[in-house]
Amino acid sequence: MIREKETTLYLGPQHPGITGNMMVKLKVQGDTVVKATTHVGYLHRAFEKLIEQRNWLNAFTLLCRFCVPEPDPMELTYARAVEELDNREVPERAQYIRVIVMELARLQSFMLWYAGQAGSAGLYTLGQWSVGDRNYILDLFEELTGGRIYHMYIWPGGVRRDVTDTWKDKVLKTMDYLEKRQDDYNQLMFDNTIFQKRAKGVGIVPKDKAIEWGVVGPPLRGVGIKSDVRIDEPYEVYDKLDFEVPTAEGGDIWARALVRKEEFRQSISIIRQAIEKMPKGDYYNKVPNPMKWVVPEGQAWAKTESVRGEIGFYVVSNGTNKPYRVHAKGAAYTHGVTVLEKILPGQNIADISFIMNSLGVCPPEIER
């Protein structure tokens, strides 16, 4: 065997395979990665500093930009933390609406994942389909909230606008359509030999180390550990809905893909149940004048399940009309740095973007 010289390779920040704007510095021997170091900060906008300058409600415009592919969990998590600090009740109808919004956000994020995961294996047709169909969900969001990507819809004490019956019908129709379409996606992805050969046995997260490394969400379920914030610490009305948390064995890209495939189904089922069970009533409890709203002193930690895993917000109030400190921890914070650095050595350079997509690395969430 010819022993190759070790070379340094900079992957990113401008690289079409990287999931966003970040850099992985690699030491490679031939095609094999020996050492990987993540460099972030290309998207650092100082959110946490800026939120300290805004008042409690103005923070929402910043919050939803924490992670672009899926902004709603950020809003919900912060809102829940503020509700805990301020002892605000949320009407039941609002809780159902929140669940629907969260699951719609999850679905559209899954469709981006389908595109990214297949695209990084060279299957570009799937991206055209799923990202095209994703527009149907964004249309629903637009009708409900006024924005395609950023909604600023959930706020402490409820949601901003009520849902109409026509909107519900549209949601149900879209769900029927997506359910049919998902079979097409799966056929392109899971029945494809290229995908199977590339995904099986690549990017393995070891089961015994997974929790210690901070793996959460689908990658953790992909190693066979049943962990989901929606069942571990049920929030909103998830405990009243009937859904399964799928797991798979192996911890490789294939296992994570299987988990996501099944979660897609579960999300559709949750939305259908939530629409059926949604009671009549108020959709928000009144919030004081946002300019003068003072939240009592205290500290609160809230977490929810996003498509990449748990998202937690630590919110500190010192009894003024501005947050004293807001710290957000997204799943990518560990997936993009520790986990990526640990599982890349030994892998092929060509598989890196494949692995990053399957871990759900989202750079704006890491550096905020």
Partner: protein
């Protein structure tokens, strides 16, 4: 929610092993206040003995009025399904904290970020000095006495027109020659 047996039991086992104070906040939430030197011991004990194997998050708060930094370690037990907050306060002058990345590898990332954003040193921390910033030579930016607006105004080019947008209603009324209605005046930002 009167039955917080699990939480109380956890608090008891911690307070009996260490001389610390703590309280049960609500269901699934327990916090303990520890001395700086005891933190790594508590974390190791919680991880090995009590099953808190997941470091959910770690953060720092700048209490500038008290002249202290507060460090918060949030750990989660997948079996008990409880969050445990280990909180400690350290001095704001020459802040230094024990490095815990031998307990959890991922703590390395948090500590690098805190080192950069608050200037807290973690002796023995491996990793490049820069985390998110590059060539930063000001005060660590997340400290409360760092004024981000002043810095931005001094450093970056400001396009004229933003000062105009202080109160949109008045600007529009000046431009169009109409009066601001009385009901709108009470929402003015100037007051």
């Amino acid at each position: 929610m009167t039955e917080l047996i699990k939480e109380q039991h956890l608090l008891d086992s911690l307070t009996s092993a260490f001389k610390i104070k703590g309280r049960v906040i609500r269901d699934r939430r327990v916090e303990v206040f520890a001395d700086k030197k005891m933190v790594s011991g508590i974390l190791l004990f919680a991880k090995k003995q009590l099953g808190f194997i997941h470091l959910a998050h770690m953060t720092c708060i700048d209490w500038i009025d008290e002249n202290k930094f507060e460090l918060i370690y949030t750990i989660w037990s997948p079996i008990e399904k409880i969050h445990l907050f280990v909180k400690t306060k350290i001095e704001r002058e020459n802040p230094e904290m024990e490095n815990i990345d031998s307990i959890w590898d991922q703590a390395n990332t948090y500590e690098r970020e805190i080192r950069e954003m608050f200037g807290i040193q973690f002796p023995g921390l491996i990793g490049e000095q820069d985390f998110a910033l590059e060539d930063w030579d000001e005060m660590p930016p997340m400290r409360k006495d760092f004024d981000t607006k002043k810095y931005a105004l001094e450093t970056y080019y400001q396009r004229p027109g933003r000062e105009d947008a202080k109160d949109v209603r008045e600007t529009i009324s000046e431009r169009s020659g109409t009066k601001v209605p009385d009901f709108a005046k009470k929402y003015s930002r100037e007051k």
